[in-house]
Amino acid sequence: MLNFTLRRLMYTIPTLLLISFIIFIVLDLAPNDPTGNLPLTIPPEVRAKIRASLGLDAPMYIRYLLWCQQFFINEPLNLFNEWFGWCIGDCEGRLRVTSWATRSPVVDLIAERMPQTLWVVGMSYVVGIMIALPIGVISAYKQYSWFDQFGTLIAMIGFSVPTFFTGVLLIVIFSVWMPNDSFFWLPSIYDTTLDVVDWDSFVKQMRQMIMPVMVLALYNAAQISRFMRASMLDNLSQDYVRTARAKGLKEKTVLLVHVLRNSMIPVVTVIALGIPQVFGGAIITEQIFKVNGLGQLLIIGIQGADIPLVQTLTFLFAVLIVLFNLVADVLYGLLDPRIRYD
C-alpha cells in the first residue's frame, strides 16, 4: 500500500508538469485580452504598450518557463522567507507570480481569499454530506416508502434547480420581504472584512453564512444522496447480506457495519473528488452573495484575461484534484481489502 502510494506520488510530478503546460497553452490560445475590459477611451496604441509591459510580446515558451521559475522556485523561497525568516538568494528583488489586474503577488491574493471560501464552501460541503448520507441510507433501506419518494423529490429539485435561482429566491424572501428588524432577516451581502472576535461578531458571521451555505448544501446533498442510495441498494441485494441476516445478526449491525461499509466505496470517491471543488469555490453562489472567494477570483481573472492569476489558480486546483484522486484510490484499498495494488 505504502509502495503504491509512493509510486503514484512519483507519477504525479510529470503529470502535473504536463497539466501546467497544457493549461498554459489553453490560456494562451484563448482569444481573451487583458486590455479587453478597459474603457474604450484608451487608444489602441496605448493598449499595445500595456500589452508589451505585461510581457505579452515575448514568445510563448519563454513566458511559460518564466512562470515555472517564478512558481516552482521563487514562490517556495518566498514562503520560507516569510515563515522562517530564512533568506536564500535575492529576497527583495525576487520576481513573484504577479497578477496583471491587481499588480500584486497571486499567492497573496489566494491567501487573502482562502478563509471565506473554506468557511462558506467547506461548511456547505460538510452540511451537504451530513444531510445526504442519512437520507441516502434510509431511502435505500426503505425503498419506495414515502420517505424515499420525498427524498428523491428533494434531491432532484436540489439538482435540477440552478443555484443562481435558489440563491436569488432566498435573498428575495429573507432579505427583501423579511422586515429589516425581524429575527429572520438575513444579510444579502457577505462582509469579508468582518473579524470574529466576540459573540456578537460570531453571530453576525453565522447569519451571513446561512444563505450561501444552505444553497450550496442543498446542491451537494442532492448529488451525494443519490449516489449513496444507489450504492446501498446494490449492496442490500447481495448474498452476503442474506448470509449475515441468516446468521442472526441484528438488522442494525447488518445495515450499519456490513452494508454501509461496502456501500461507502463509490460514495467516498464522489466525496473525495468533490473536495477540490471546495477550494475552487462556487462561482455562481459566491457571485450572488458577494462572498468574493477563490471562485470569484478565478472568474474575474478569466474575464480580465489575467493569465498569471488564472494559470496559478488552475494549477493549484489541478494539484488538489490529482492529490484527492490519489486519496480516493488509497481509500478504496482501505475500505475494500479485496482490491490489491501491486
Binding site: 477611451t41 487608444p43 505585461l54
Partner: protein
C-alpha cells in the same frame, strides 16, 4: 472657450469655499460609516496602472488631480486656486504651454507638503515608456513637465494645443506622492504592491485596508484641506455580484448607501425604487449606443483582405440600404425597453456637451417602415419568394454582432424583427465582452476586425473635448492588418473632406469654431448613415434616501464630491 472655463472655474471655487466656510463648525467624521457597492470590484488604487472605471472611481476618493470636472462638465479647481487660461496668462498665447500653480499649504495625508516636484514626478511616472501607463494618451503631445518653483509647474507641448487640459485634469490623472512612488518607476511600477494598494493622497479619505477585487476600507484624511469634511469617518467600498444585486442592496434592503452603474431593465429599477428606501439618479455624458456599419466586405472568402478597404461591401456601400436600416428602427421604444430614464433618443453620435450637439439630424426618432420599404424598392432591391430583398444576385442578409449583455441582446432581437419587415434578413451573434473589446490579434471576434456586416456597442470620450473622438473616423484610423488592427475607425469611413475638417480642428482654439467643425463632422457621418446612433446613454446610480449631497457626474469620477456627502437624520 477660455472665458467659459474661467467663469466656471472661479464660480466652482467660490462655491466650494463658501460651503466650506458655512459648515466649518461641524467636525470631520460626524456621520460614521458610509457603505458603497460597486458590482465590479476595484482591483488597484492606481489609475495609471488600471484604466477601469471602478479603479478610477475608487482611487478618486484618495488621490486627486489639479482640477476636476463638475456635474455639468465645467472645470473646477481642486489643488490649484484657478484654472490656467489664455486670459489669465496660465496658457501661453501660442497655445504651446500651460502653467499650473498649486494652492498654498496643501498637505498629503501623511502630513508632508504637496509640491510641484510631485506633479513633475507623476508626469514622468506615466510617460516612462516601460511602465505600461494606461493614461498615456492624456499625456499625448507633452514635451516636458518642469517645476518653476515649489508651487508652479509648466507643461510644454510639442505644438499648439488648443485644449491643453489633458494631463492632471479629471480623476484619470491624479497626482501621486513622489516620495512614496520614487522606487516605482518604469518596469518596477507593478512590483510596488503596497503603494498601488494604498497610495498617499490629498483626497478626503485614506486607505486602511485594501482587499483586491473584494472590499476596501477607508478612513477620513485628517489633513484634508477643507475643515469639517468629509462628514463620514469611514467608507466601506464593497465590490462583486451583479447590477441587480447591487440595486437590491441599496433600493430594497437598504444594506448599502450607494450603488454604482445600475444597468437594469427600467421596469425592474422602477419596481425597486417603489419600495421607498432609495432613489435612482442618472446623468448624461457623451456615451452613445450605436451601430457601426462595415463599409468593407467581411466575406470569409477574402482571406487576409477580409474587412479591409480593398473590397467595398457588396450592399452596404449602397446608401439607400444604410438609410433604410436606420429608418426602420424605433428608437423611443429601444430607450423605453432598454434604459428608461437612463437613456435618451439621439440622432447624433456626438450628443454632448450641448454646444456640440447637432440640430441638423432631427427626425430619426420616427420609425418609418413604409418609407424604408419605398426607399429600397426605388433603389432596385426586389423582394424574393422568402421575403428577403436582393439585387443582381446580392441578398440583403446581414450578420449583426455585439457584446454579450442582456440589453444588447434585447435590442438585437427587436432590430432583427424590424429589419425583417423591410425585407432584410439578420443573423445575430454575441461575443463575450473581454474578447469583443480585447485586442487579441489571433481572435476573429474583436470589434476592430469587424468580421460582420455591422456591430453595436457604446463609446464615449474622457472629459469634455471631442477632438480626439471625432478624429477617429479619419481615413488613417481604419484598422487593417498593416496597422495590426489598431485604429478606432470601425466603419472604415474614409472621406477627404472629413480628414480636412479633422486637421482644421487640430489647429483651432476658438470654441465656437471648434463646435461648428465638430457638428459638421457629426453631420457628415450621420447623413451618410455610416454610423447609426441609437441611444444616448447616461450613468445610473442608486442612492439610499438618508444619504445627502450626491451629485452624479458623467464627466468625471462618480465619487468626485464624496467629501460633501453626509447623512440626513
Amino acid at each position: 472657450m477660455t472665458l467659459k472655463y474661467l467663469i466656471a472655474g472661479t464660480l466652482g471655487a467660490a462655491l466650494l469655499s463658501t460651503t466650506a466656510f458655512g459648515e466649518s463648525h461641524m467636525a470631520q467624521g460626524r456621520d460614521g460609516n458610509v457603505n458603497i457597492i460597486y458590482w465590479q470590484a476595484a482591483s488597484i488604487m492606481n489609475p495609471y496602472l488600471s484604466g477601469g472605471t471602478k479603479d478610477i472611481n475608487a482611487s478618486s476618493m484618495v488621490i486627486e488631480p489639479l482640477a476636476h470636472y463638475d456635474e455639468n462638465g465645467a472645470m473646477v479647481a481642486t489643488l490649484v486656486d484657478e484654472i490656467p487660461t489664455v486670459a489669465n496668462g496660465g496658457v501661453s498665447a501660442d497655445l504651446t504651454s500651460i502653467t499650473w500653480t498649486l494652492s498654498e499649504g496643501l498637505l498629503w495625508s501623511d502630513g508632508s507638503a504637496v509640491t510641484s516636484a510631485d506633479v513633475v514626478f507623476t508626469a514622468n511616472y506615466c510617460m516612462d515608456e516601460t511602465g505600461g501607463c494606461q493614461q498615456l494618451a492624456k499625456f499625448g503631445g507633452v514635451e516636458s513637465v518642469e517645476a518653476i518653483d515649489d508651487l508652479t509647474v509648466k507643461i510644454t507641448f510639442d505644438g499648439p494645443k488648443p485644449f491643453p487640459y489633458g494631463p492632471f485634469v479629471g480623476s484619470t490623472t491624479p497626482i501621486l506622492q513622489a516620495a512614496q512612488f520614487a522606487d516605482c518607476m518604469g518596469v518596477a511600477a507593478p512590483t510596488c504592491t503596497a503603494q498601488n494598494f494604498g497610495p498617499i493622497g490629498t483626497g478626503p479619505f485614506t486607505v486602511t485596508e485594501f482587499r483586491a477585487n473584494d472590499a476596501i476600507t477607508l478612513a477620513a484624511n485628517p489633513n484634508y484641506r477643507v475643515a469639517g469634511k468629509p462628514a463620514f469617518a469611514t467608507v466601506n467600498f464593497k465590490g462583486g455580484g451583479d447590477a441587480a444585486a447591487a440595486g437590491r442592496a441599496v433600493l430594497e434592503t437598504g444594506e448599502f448607501d450607494y450603488a454604482w452603474n445600475l444597468q437594469l431593465a427600467p421596469e425592474i429599477l422602477a419596481d425597486m425604487e417603489s419600495k421607498g428606501v432609495g432613489t435612482v439618479l442618472s446623468s448624461f455624458g457623451p456615451l452613445v449606443e450605436r451601430i457601426m456599419i462595415n463599409m468593407t466586405d467581411p466575406s470569409a472568402a477574402l482571406g487576409d483582405e477580409r474587412s479591409t478597404v480593398a473590397h467595398p461591401h457588396p450592399f452596404m456601400s449602397d446608401m439607400a440600404v444604410r438609410q433604410a436600416l436606420s429608418m426602420a428602427i424605433d428608437r423611443p421604444l429601444l430607450v423605453e425597453i432598454g434604459y428608461g430614464q437612463a437613456g435618451k433618443v439621439t440622432c447624433n453620435v456626438l450628443p454632448a456637451p450641448a454646444i456640440y450637439d447637432s440640430p441638423n439630424n432631427a427626425g430619426c426618432e420616427m420609425q418609418d417602415i413604409a418609407g424604408a420599404n419605398a426607399l429600397l424598392d426605388a433603389a432596385g432591391w426586389e423582394r424574393g419568394s422568402d421575403g428577403v430583398r436582393s439585387k443582381d444576385g446580392v441578398r440583403l442578409s446581414i450578420l449583426y454582432q455585439t457584446s454579450t449583455n442582456a440589453v444588447r441582446q434585447d435590442f438585437q432581437a427587436l432590430i432583427k424583427q424590424w429589419w425583417a419587415e423591410i425585407g432584410i434578413e439578420t443573423e445575430l451573434k454575441n461575443i463575450s465582452g473581454g474578447v469583443f473589446f480585447g485586442g487579441d490579434q489571433s481572435s476573429p471576434d474583436t470589434f476592430q476586425k469587424l468580421f460582420a456586416d455591422l456591430e453595436m456597442y457604446a463609446n464615449n470620450f474622457d472629459g469634455t473635448d471631442p477632438e480626439a473622438y471625432m478624429a477617429r473616423w479619419a481615413c488613417g484610423e481604419i484598422p487593417s492588418p498593416e496597422n495590426a488592427w489598431l485604429g478606432g475607425n470601425m466603419p472604415r469611413h474614409c472621406n477627404a473632406d472629413y480628414d480636412a475638417m479633422v486637421a482644421e480642428m487640430g489647429g483651432t482654439a476658438d470654441l465656437a469654431e471648434r463646435a461648428r467643425l465638430a457638428i459638421a463632422m457629426n453631420d457628415m457621418l450621420m447623413q451618410s448613415y455610416t454610423i447609426i446612433p441609437l441611444v444616448h446613454r447616461g450613468n445610473v446610480s442608486g442612492v439610499v434616501n438618508t444619504l445627502e449631497g450626491v451629485k452624479l457626474n458623467a464627466w468625471d469620477s462618480e465619487l468626485w464630491n464624496i467629501a460633501d456627502w453626509s447623512r440626513s437624520e
